[in-house]
């Protein structure tokens, strides 16, 4: 279930880009792919550099507090690695004259790849789940689709409108179905919000080894018996079947353990991550300013710090999504209200 791991949902979709020509915002005739690339190039990135701050426009994905990271990629075609190499000697023996080209793999159209890591929740905030059934995972995806529709529908229409099949999408449920159709399994999710190493499932290596080695020894012993002049057919068959069964069992066990989702980190949901970023920056200033205080003054100041910054309240004051620093204009939500 790699779409779900460590309390996060990893959404990957591949949607075919429309073929043929269309018009861009200025009315010039362009390909659908070029129109899509232009729309994406004009999509604001997050407040992560002076240049993006100066534009005053944040990424539309910063309008929700569920997206940790997301990315669009236009896949033009598959990379061709060149003609498969075969030894010249075999070519001449089997008559494969290099004058005749071999088929080249091509995609039927360009594709839009969208990949996002989101909190595996249907509501914003809250503890991340350790396990989710497939239906529950689908509900997470549908809720995310509804969030995107509600917060950035114009951008979604401009982007996805360049892709095949989006013209029938009229509401959040339709967009959820569209994402489901375009979804491919995420095979390598990455998540690293653990403060301490997670408690990973361990394989019973000794038991697995013993389960394989015992029937294997039986098999080898039976073969030795044939050499010594006995005919232990029954033992040999039992040994072979036992070895094959044990290998299959060990393999399935290892794969099942590997597929089991990692546990969610204690503070890995986006609102908590944002709050911790906010607190960390505030606390550095506090520690520097009060390092020479006596115990009573420090106690009083820290009380005021807790009152102002409310460490347990992830809603406010906190760092707004889409900002790399609390010092940026507009980066603090609910600051100075206490």
């Amino acid at each position: 279930m790699p779409n779900f791991d460590a309390g996060s949902y990893f959404l990957t979709t591949l949607a075919p880009v429309q073929s043929g020509s269309t018009t861009d915002a200025e009315g010039a005739t362009v390909s659908w792919e070029e129109r899509l690339r232009t729309v994406l190039a004009q999509l604001p990135t997050a407040m992560q550099s002076p240049a993006t701050v100066e534009t005053g426009q944040n990424s539309p994905f910063a309008r929700n507090r569920r997206t940790h990271l997301c990315r669009f990629v236009v896949i033009d075609n598959v990379i061709d690695n060149g003609r498969p190499q075969r030894p010249a000697l075999l070519n001449s023996i089997f008559g494969r004259d290099p004058i005749y080209p071999l088929p080249v793999d091509r995609l039927g159209s360009a594709y839009l790849l969208f990949t996002a890591e989101i909190d595996a929740l249907t509501e914003e905030g809250g503890p991340l789940p350790a396990t989710l059934t497939e239906a529950e995972q689908n509900a997470v995806r549908a809720a995310y689709a509804e969030t995107l529709r509600a917060t950035m529908e114009p951008e979604v229409r401009r982007i996805c409108g360049c892709c095949v099949g989006f013209d029938t999408v009229t509401d959040g449920a339709g967009f959820a179905r569209y994402l489901a159709r375009a979804q491919v399994e995420t095979t390598m999710p990455f998540h690293d919000y653990w403060i301490d190493p997670p408690n990973l499932p361990q394989l019973p290596v000794i038991a697995m080894g013993a389960a394989v080695v015992v029937p294997l020894l039986l098999t080898l012993g039976s073969l030795l018996g044939f050499v010594l002049g006995w005919t232990p057919w029954l033992w040999l068959i039992l040994g072979i079947l036992g070895t094959a069964g044990a290998v299959a069992w060990a393999y399935r066990l290892a794969m099942r353990r590997g597929e089991a989702p990692l546990p969610p980190p204690a503070f890995g949901d986006l609102p908590t991550v944002l709050k911790s970023l906010y607190l960390q920056q505030q606390f550095i200033g506090f520690a520097g300013a009060h390092q020479s205080d006596d115990a009573a003054a420090l106690h009083a100041a820290f009380g005021a710090f807790l009152g102002e910054h409310k460490p347990d309240d992830t809603s406010a004051p906190t760092q707004a999504p889409g900002h790399v620093s609390s010092a940026m204009p507009g980066a603090v939500v609910g600051g100075g209200q206490s």
Binding site: A51, G285, A287, G288, Q291
Partner: protein, 547 residues
């Protein structure tokens, strides 16, 4: 096997930091080919004077001379396109284009509307590479002349004048002005060279002696790297301790691979560093970074005074100890060069000084010489100090040469006696250059003309110098210090702090320094290629053939 290099083919400044070989005065000339037909004859005339890396036996030259070229210098020399287009992109782009990455431009300001961001640079460097043509204000050639001094004085030998006059005569008369010696060095607008000199001190008998100090008063360049073939084996054995790469307790310190500093030789990835064709053009050559680094002496002193007062209040130590401690915890060494790794606090430093005889004015000079001649001041590692209780994690010394602290098996706060120089051995630079400005320790101010002519020699400017400058000096993630820059030479910005980590066994909290301004800033510079003697001959003869 011992590496044997063709020392007669290698320029001498690659293997020797002349300042440490008793050449404490230097003149750095920057030249431009205005008549391209005079460029090759110029190289021909100069190459016969170039000081090579050949071992000095009985006789030493009174002065040394070395030469390097910018990308546009090589272009003006008419070298083939095939060669030029395979030169590294950092070398092609030059320091000005890399200003954001190097911390020379304010990263909080966008480029648009920032014309004049370099107005504090020397006019020579303000006009360099503004227009990417062969001439305009572009610097093409760097020539350095280092000189010995008359014994007991800070006056360079007369030969430095003779060499200067020879160069001026060559450019103006012999080559009919086809090569221009450029001016615009700081406040000395008309002097045709950048002057540099070690800081001198006056001994009790009135004689003057060069010191290894820079303008903040600290000893510089103690742990300069050692590479295979640089020294004869008997000298290498001692020099390599603390300056090479740490392998394991059995193998100990080993010299770095020659190819980290000399092109055409195998480097620490056990491959040849990339070069442009033909191979003989770049073999035995190297790249050099030239940066004129201004030191804001007042700002540094004032910040340390304020922090010392706070530190004394927070920790209860006396004023003198506090002043010495906060600055040492910024630099990574005490004022006299003793590393914090060897003496982590004021009491330990004073005890070591008493033990070594540094305190007694009668014996101090010899005692210091003895101490720094051995490996004592460079033989240390950080694997046993991963919590920064001895040398703070963000101190300048830990950033400039990370030694074994980036071993992938290291964990913050946990000692690792098995740590090695992995991830460090590919990020070393040979430090060359001298301070510039008056020797008087009280004369410095923020506006004065004082600082360091920083020159770094390495096989790959991007991988070595630029990485150290960008990732370790201007950023702190590798040291678990977030985005804090180097407290000593990093850019000062809102929120720049430096944390003096506390002993985790003790009760004292860490101390946060908050007065960290910009103490060191660039006045300009560029990237140069230092050709071998073979390459200089090929250039002069016009037979550089990349096919």
């Amino acid at each position: 096997m011992t590496e044997t290099l063709d020392l007669d083919d290698i320029q001498g400044n690659i293997v020797r930091a002349y300042g440490r070989y008793n050449y404490p005065v230097a003149r750095y000339f920057f030249l431009q080919f205005t008549d391209l037909s005079k460029a090759r004859p110029f190289v021909g005339a100069v190459r016969r004077k170039v000081t090579t890396a050949a071992r000095w036996t009985a006789e030493r030259p009174e002065t040394t001379l070395n030469i390097g070229f910018t990308f546009f210098g090589l272009w003006a020399l008419g070298l083939p396109t095939r060669l030029l287009q395979e030169l590294p992109d950092a070398f092609f782009a030059g320091i000005r284009a890399r200003a954001y990455a190097l911390g020379d431009r304010d990263p909080a300001a966008v480029a648009v509307g920032q014309e004049g961001w370099d107005k504090h640079w020397d006019t020579l460097w303000q006009e360099n590479r503004v227009d990417d043509s062969k001439t305009a204000g572009n610097v093409h050639v760097w020539i350095s002349i280092n000189a010995q001094v008359e014994p007991g004085t800070d006056t360079p030998v007369e030969k430095i004048e003779e060499e200067t006059e020879w160069l001026i005569d060559l450019c103006e008369r012999e080559l009919e002005g086809g090569v221009r010696i450029m001016t615009g060095h700081g406040s000395h607008a008309d002097i045709p060279f950048q002057a540099a000199t070690a800081l001198f001190e006056t001994l009790p008998d009135g004689t003057r002696r060069a010191t290894p100090k820079e303008h903040f008063g600290y000893t510089d360049g103690i742990s300069d790297p050692v590479f295979a073939g640089q020294y004869p084996p008997e000298i290498e054995r001692e020099r390599v301790i603390g300056r090479g790469k740490w392998m394991d307790p059995e193998t100990g310190w080993q010299p770095l691979a020659t190819g980290e500093f000399l092109l055409g030789h195998v480097d620490e990835s056990q491959a040849l560093p990339p070069t442009a064709p033909p191979p003989e053009f770049m073999r035995n050559g190297s790249f050099m970074v030239y940066r004129k680094l201004h030191q804001n002496v007042d700002a540094f002193r004032n910040a340390m005074d304020v922090e010392a007062e706070r530190y004394a209040a927070a920790t209860g130590v006396d004023a003198e100890a506090a002043r010495a401690t906060v600055a040492a915890k910024v630099v990574g060494r005490w004022k006299d060069g003793v590393p914090l790794a060897k003496a982590p606090d004021y009491a330990a430093w004073r005890a070591l000084a008493a033990e070594k005889g540094f305190d007694d004015p009668e014996t101090a000079r010899e005692a210091y010489q003895r101490y720094f001649r051995t490996a004592e001041a460079s033989d240390f590692r950080y694997g046993d100090d991963m919590d920064g209780a001895r040398c703070p994690l963000g101190a300048h010394l830990r950033r400039a040469n990370t030694r074994d602290q980036l071993d992938p098996d290291n964990q913050p706060g946990a000692k690792n006696p098995e740590a090695t120089s992995r991830l460090n051995k590919r990020r070393r630079i040979l430090r060359r250059g001298l301070p510039y400005g008056p020797s008087d320790p009280d004369a410095g101010s923020d506006d004065g003309e004082q600082g360091i002519i920083f020159m770094a020699i390495c096989a790959d400017i991007f991988r070595q110098f630029e990485f150290i400058q960008q990732q370790w000096m201007e950023y702190g993630l590798d040291f678990h210090t977030g985005n804090t820059p180097c407290p000593l030479i990093g850019r000062g910005a809102e929120g720049k702090i430096h944390v003096i980590q506390a002993d985790p066994e003790g009760a004292a909290p860490p101390f946060i320094m908050r007065e960290m301004k910009t103490f060191v800033e660039t006045r300009g510079g560029d990237y140069f290629f230092l050709p071998s003697m073979t390459a200089l001959r090929l250039i002069e003869m016009g037979v550089v053939d990349p096919t």
